[in-house]
Symmetry: C2
Subunit: 463 residues, 2 copies
Amino acid sequence: MKYDLIRNFYYNKEDYSDKEVTISGWIRTIRDSNKFGFIEINDGTSFKGIQAVYDDSLPNFSEIGKYPVATAIVAKGKFVLTPESKQPFEIKATSISLEAPSDSKYPLQKKRHTLEYLRTIAHLRPRSNTFAAVFRVRSLASYAVHKFFQEKGFVNVHTPIITASDAEGAGEMFKVTTLDLLDIPRDDRKEVDFTKDFFEKPASLTVSGQLEGEIFALAFRNIYTFGPTFRAENSNTPRHAAEFWMIEPEIAFADIKDDMDLAEEMIKYLIRFVLENAPQEMEFFNSFIDKGLKDRLEGILKSDFERVTYTEAIRLLKESGKEFEYPVEWGSDLQTEHERYLTEVVFKKPVFVTDYPKEIKAFYMRLNEDDKTVAAMDLLVPGVGEIIGGSQREERLEVLKEKILKNGLKEEDYWWYLELRKYGGVKHAGFGLGFERLIMYLTGMSNIRDVIPFPRTVGNAEF
Amino acid sequence: MKYDLIRNFYYNKEDYSDKEVTISGWIRTIRDSNKFGFIEINDGTSFKGIQAVYDDSLPNFSEIGKYPVATAIVAKGKFVLTPESKQPFEIKATSISLEAPSDSKYPLQKKRHTLEYLRTIAHLRPRSNTFAAVFRVRSLASYAVHKFFQEKGFVNVHTPIITASDAEGAGEMFKVTTLDLLDIPRDDRKEVDFTKDFFEKPASLTVSGQLEGEIFALAFRNIYTFGPTFRAENSNTPRHAAEFWMIEPEIAFADIKDDMDLAEEMIKYLIRFVLENAPQEMEFFNSFIDKGLKDRLEGILKSDFERVTYTEAIRLLKESGKEFEYPVEWGSDLQTEHERYLTEVVFKKPVFVTDYPKEIKAFYMRLNEDDKTVAAMDLLVPGVGEIIGGSQREERLEVLKEKILKNGLKEEDYWWYLELRKYGGVKHAGFGLGFERLIMYLTGMSNIRDVIPFPRTVGNAEF
């Protein structure tokens, strides 16, 4: 049996006018009198559902009124345009049949629930308006990422999740093992005998695919990764999760300016794609989650992102006269309060801050001529602060070796990374975008737990 | 500096005819006489590169001839169509400048290398013809997966990688922990005290996102996952990896026939997409890796996939008179030799085998009326055997509870999975496609290590 889909009604309502349609879906609300009834049906394909109107000419009229919310039904009838009412169309049902029952104890009744409570029923929350909107936008944004890069000819690389190097150095890592935790084998120095483990050495979950991404950029020129990354950090905040998805493009024959151009083009593409392809959902966020969201996003589309050096940013912050919780000092990293002040008050639009002091940035970032700063760039956006961090990479073998040494790292752990610099190691650059941060930015949702289908945080890996 | 890209030359060569172009790329081969030189340049954007012809009018003529393979250069000159020669065009260089040097010890010289050797230099192998072709096809196939489902309105779900349930039961799992392996905390029963671990309970890497996918299908109707999955199995074969990507669509208001329709449509879409979008790469595989590949794939596009029950398949195998290594017996699982015989000899095209004995299939598959078989389907394809496994899911709460019990599983581990059946738990179905198996099938590559950028297998997690 092929059913008509509600999403198609919203796309081409005129095509269905006065036609017979058959839909299958779940009851969202139901109300009836002793002659008539109204059912709001959602079939999962569309944020907004459709109303079916039925009357006591249906042989099962009295049963229908008793169906609990979430009951699955099949409704047949005439599709009618209703230009004078709030909904653009409805179905005059000629038959309504039960497909799968529900129960009056269904936890998602019409009353409002807190987001905290909904997290405890993550198996049902995608059926609520808020999460139906969040997760459809997440899906569309994910598609937009692929579409953006693929249409520009970028190669998508699946960098490894399990890694046996701790060369990435971007944060605390989860261990991955098949050893029996009750009986860890030891070698003669009393250390863990990893030769007995699956990979015959210590293994962890990746914190970044960048270094492997560079390998592919030096073969395919323009590449991107889009996959899960992990932090075993004990930070129980609304912005941190132990498992999250990251997008990391890497471009060769390119410098930090090309990198910023790419980041700006990508952010605008993603915003435009979601506004165009999820109008009902974005309207919902704008009305119920974050008033002003749409204006803010549309404002971004029209603005040219600002570009300012870290040194200049520090000067602007100092001269602002504003009292910050954390002091503003050349050499210290910018805090979220500083970042937001720059993008929200000083520039009133997204701003790239570039050329940070080398001491506060990673070893692989390219040293500038001044020998004090590196070719790093962070993109700050209103309402969030930092959303993208990137850099031109150090392509000079000797400079890179020295930086590895100075950072207390071991050359042999980076043998292949260094070797890339020997054989046509052209200038190249890249950046990382936390996908969940992006979704929070696009939807106005303020807790990362509410933009991940099944979030993993300290003490929590349910479902 | 914006460069012209070689991929655009192949798309629109007439547009560039007799124009000045500037390209940047890596030297693949170079040969010169005392008057002329020829450089094959690849800029990473295209499987095939372009030849630059230069002569001794260039001031650095004598240096150029000494550039080792993999040297990065910028070449300017006139783009010339060459309809009479093997290559469709070339550049008459007016300037060639060094962008980044290489070294004569560059391991990827022109001579042929074994695939085994190339695995040891995974940081350079994407620059070889074979791997440039494999990984571009992998990227395109990945995009095709998203495009196929998104254009049909499916919602992409990022199911969790770290899981605290062993409810999935599809294979050996990797443990994920932040405990100190040299000092595992114990509780008073001498068991591991997981309350001290990051998630406060045992955690592992997922083997499947199906169960969570069902949650989303019962909200969004049509969904798919596409992400990494893991098996800690000690199987050192050319077809097994510890980390691989899997595609798992799940569709609601749908039965096993809809499931097979979807699988057939998807496979054909993916084949067609890759043949159309990677013609140079597919030609290469057809010539050098697997003669007959293109004919086989094009044959699939034209055929209607066969559908046969397991019971019928067993009869056909028995009646074939063919001697198999493993006996053919109703109740035993089909081995690869049986699968390949069915698809290659009996039907000579892809075939769905359906309705397997319940004893050899997972608990969540829907029990058929005969009480002996389940609504499972495997897709077998010539040259490979099983490429897809799927089923209609058991939506009847009581039947599902009984199957969980009979499989020695615990109801409480499946509380949310069972609850889905209480609240509008309509019939639904889905399947899993191992992405690497698909890439092997599309390229003719015969070892899974050669279709994964950085493969993870027993004893190996390099790069």
